[in-house]
C-alpha cells in the first residue's frame, strides 16, 4: 500500500495529459522561466489536492478487497458491477429527472427575471436584483434545514397551512413529491445566481446598439431576437454547464433532508450520496471510488457536450 500515492500520481496525470497538444507558440519574451515562478505554487497544491485524488480514485476503482487474496487487481469488474447495479441506476434516474425538469424551470425563471431587470421598465430594479440573489449566500445546510422545517411534519408550514385552510396540500416529503421539494430548494438557492449571470451578459451589450436598432425601426421582439439572444448565448452555456455539474453532483440538500424523511430519501438518493454511504456505512472504498469516477466522467461528458454545442452554434 505504501507505493499507492506514487502510482496514483502516475495514473492521475495520464488522462489530463491528452490536452497537452503541441501548437505553434507566439514569439517568446525574454524572461522565459519567470512565469513558472508565479504558476508553480498553484500547480503544487493543484497536483496534490485535485490531480492526485482523481488519479487515486481511478487506481482504487481497478482493485477490489477480496476475502481470499486481499487487495487484488480486477480491471473493470467494479465498473461492470456498477453498470448492472439497480441502486446506482435509480440514483442516476433521480438526478436525470431533476436535470430534465428542475434545471429548465430554474433557468427560464432566471432568464425572465434578468430580462425584466434589464428592460428599464422595472421600478427599483436593484432591490429585486439583490433580494433574488440573496439566497445564493445562504449555506446549503441552512437552506435545507430551513426548507426542511417548512416541509416537515412537526411544525411544518405546509401541514399547518393545509389544516388551517382545510385544503389537502400534499406532504412535500412523501414519495411522489420529495424530488420536487428538493428541486425547489435547489431552485431557491440558485435562481438568483443564474439570473445574475444572464443579467451581466445583457449589460455587456453597448447601449448604442439598442439605440441604433431603434432608429432603424427594429421592433422590441426583433431586438430581443437579434441582439439580446446572441449576447446571452455564452452566458447560457455557462449557466447550463454549472447547472449540469450541480445537479449530477447533488449531495448537500438530500443528505440533510434525509434525516427528516429516511424512507423517501434513501441513502442512494443521488449518485454522490450513494458513493458517500458506500464509503462510510459500507466501507466499500473501491466501489465508492468507481461510482465517483463514473459520475465524474458523465459530468465531464455532459458539460463538454453543452460547451461544444454552444461553440458550434456561435460559429
Amino acid at each position: 500500500m505504501a507505493d499507492l500515492p506514487l502510482g496514483a500520481r502516475r495514473l492521475g496525470i495520464r488522462p489530463l495529459g491528452a490536452v497537452r497538444r503541441t501548437r505553434a507558440r507566439p514569439p517568446r519574451r525574454r524572461r522565459r522561466w519567470t512565469g513558472w515562478g508565479f504558476v508553480a505554487p498553484f500547480l503544487v497544491v493543484f497536483a496534490f489536492a485535485l490531480v492526485a485524488p482523481i488519479g487515486y480514485a481511478i487506481y482504487l476503482s481497478l482493485f477490489r478487497e477480496q476475502l481470499i487474496g486481499g487487495n487484488s487487481f480486477v480491471a473493470f469488474a467494479n465498473y461492470r458491477q456498477a453498470l448492472a447495479d439497480p441502486q446506482f441506476w435509480s440514483s442516476v434516474r433521480r438526478v436525470a429527472t431533476l436535470l430534465a425538469v428542475q434545471v429548465p424551470v430554474m433557468l427560464i425563471l432566471a432568464l425572465l427575471a434578468a430580462l425584466a431587470l434589464d428592460s428599464a421598465r422595472l421600478r427599483w430594479a436593484p432591490l429585486y436584483r439583490l433580494a433574488i440573489f440573496l439566497p445564493y449566500a445562504v449555506p446549503a445546510v441552512v437552506a435545507s434545514l430551513m426548507w426542511g422545517f417548512v416541509y416537515g411534519a412537526q411544525f411544518g408550514l405546509v401541514s399547518r397551512l393545509s389544516s388551517a385552510l382545510h385544503v389537502g396540500l400534499p406532504d412535500p416529503l412523501s414519495g411522489s413529491w420529495v424530488l420536487a421539494s428538493i428541486g425547489n430548494v435547489v431552485t431557491w438557492e440558485f435562481v438568483g445566481y443564474n439570473m445574475l449571470i444572464f443579467y451581466a451578459a445583457l449589460r455587456s451589450v453597448p447601449g448604442d446598439l439598442y439605440e441604433a436598432a431603434e432608429i432603424d425601426g427594429a421592433s422590441p421582439l426583433r431586438i430581443a431576437r437579434s441582439i439580446k439572444l446572441p449576447a446571452l448565448r455564452p452566458a447560457m452555456v455557462v449557466a447550463v454547464v454549472f447547472s449540469i455539474i450541480g445537479t449530477l453532483q447533488l449531495f448537500n440538500e438530500p443528505n440533510i433532508l434525509h434525516w427528516l424523511a429516511p424512507d423517501t430519501i434513501p441513502p442512494n438518493f443521488t449518485p454522490n450520496m450513494y458513493a458517500y454511504n458506500l464509503s462510510f456505512s459500507g466501507q466499500e472504498y473501491n466501489y465508492s471510488a468507481t461510482i465517483a469516477v463514473i459520475m465524474g466522467i458523465l459530468t465531464m461528458l455532459a458539460a463538454g457536450g453543452v460547451q461544444w454545442l454552444g461553440r458550434r452554434r456561435m460559429a
Binding site: 519567470t34 504558476v39 485535485l50 485524488p53 482504487l60 428592460s119 422595472l122 448537500n252 465531464m300
Partner: protein
Amino acid sequence: MTATTTPARTAGRAGAAQPRRAKRASGRGGSQKRHSLILSLLMTVMLLYALLPLFWLLVNSSKTPGALFSTFGLWFGGPFALWSNVHQVLTYDHGIFVRWLANTLLYVVVGAGGATFLATLAGYGLAKYDFPGRRGVFAVVLGAVAVPGTALAVPTFLLFSDLHLTNTPWSVILPSLVSPFGLYLIWVYAQDAVPAELLEAARIDGASEVRTFFQISLRLLTPGVVTVLLFTVVATWNNYFLPLIMLSTPQWYPLTVGLNDWDQQSFTAGGQAIYNLVITGSLLTVIPIMIAFLIMQRYWRSGLAAGSVKQ
C-alpha cells in the same frame, strides 16, 4: 405580546433603507420608457419567494421551543426569546458553537485567503508571461474548472485517509486552496488591467519581477482579487460535504457540519431536540456572510460578467 414589536420595527427599518439606494439606478434608456406594473408584480412574487424563508428564519429565531410548535410559522408569537436563544446557542455544550465559528474563520482565512493568493499569482503569471509549457498548464487548469468540488470529496477523502491527513484542519484547508475558477477570473482580468508597457517600464527601471507584482500589478488587479476572494469566501464559509467527510471529531467542525449535527440530535435515539438552537444557530451562521455579500455585491456582477461573457 408587547415584546413582539421590537423585531417588527427593526425589520421595517432595514427594509426602508433599500429602496432609497435603489432609486438612483434606472435601466438603460429609461427616460422614455414607462414602468410596468405587471412586471413589478411578477418580480415581487419572485422577491417574496427569495425572502420568505429568510423571514421565516428571523421570525422563528425569536421563539421559545414551545412557541415554535404552537404559533403560526410566518409571524411572531409567544414570548420574545431571540436573546435567550442566542445566549443558549453560544453556551450550549460548553460553547461548542463558538469553537465551530472559530474553525470556520480559520478555514475561511487560510483556505479562501490562500486560494485567492495562489490563483492571483498563477492567473497573473499565465496572463503576463510566456514560458515553456504555458499552454499545457492553461489547458489543464481550464479543464479543472469543470471538475466539481463535490465530485472530488470522496476521492480526496480516500487519498487523505491513506496519508493520515483526515480529521485535521489540513484536510479541509488543502482542498480549499485550489480555485481554478479564481485563476481563470484573474487571468481574464489581468489581460486588460495590467498593461504590458507598464511592466516593461518597471523592468527597464530595474525592478525585480516579484517587486513589480507586489507594488504595481497587485494594485491594478485589486477589483479582480476582491471578486475571487468573495467567491472563495462564500464557498469555504458554506462548505459542507468536504468537512463532513473529512472530520470526525466535533472539535474541528465548521458551522455547517455542526449545525447539521445539532439537527440530527432530534432524530437519534435518546437525543435531545434543540430546534430553537438549530434555527437561531442558522441565523447566526447566515448573518456574517450576508453582510459581506451585501457590502461587496457590486463585485459579484463584474466577476460573473468576466466568467460568462468573455470566453
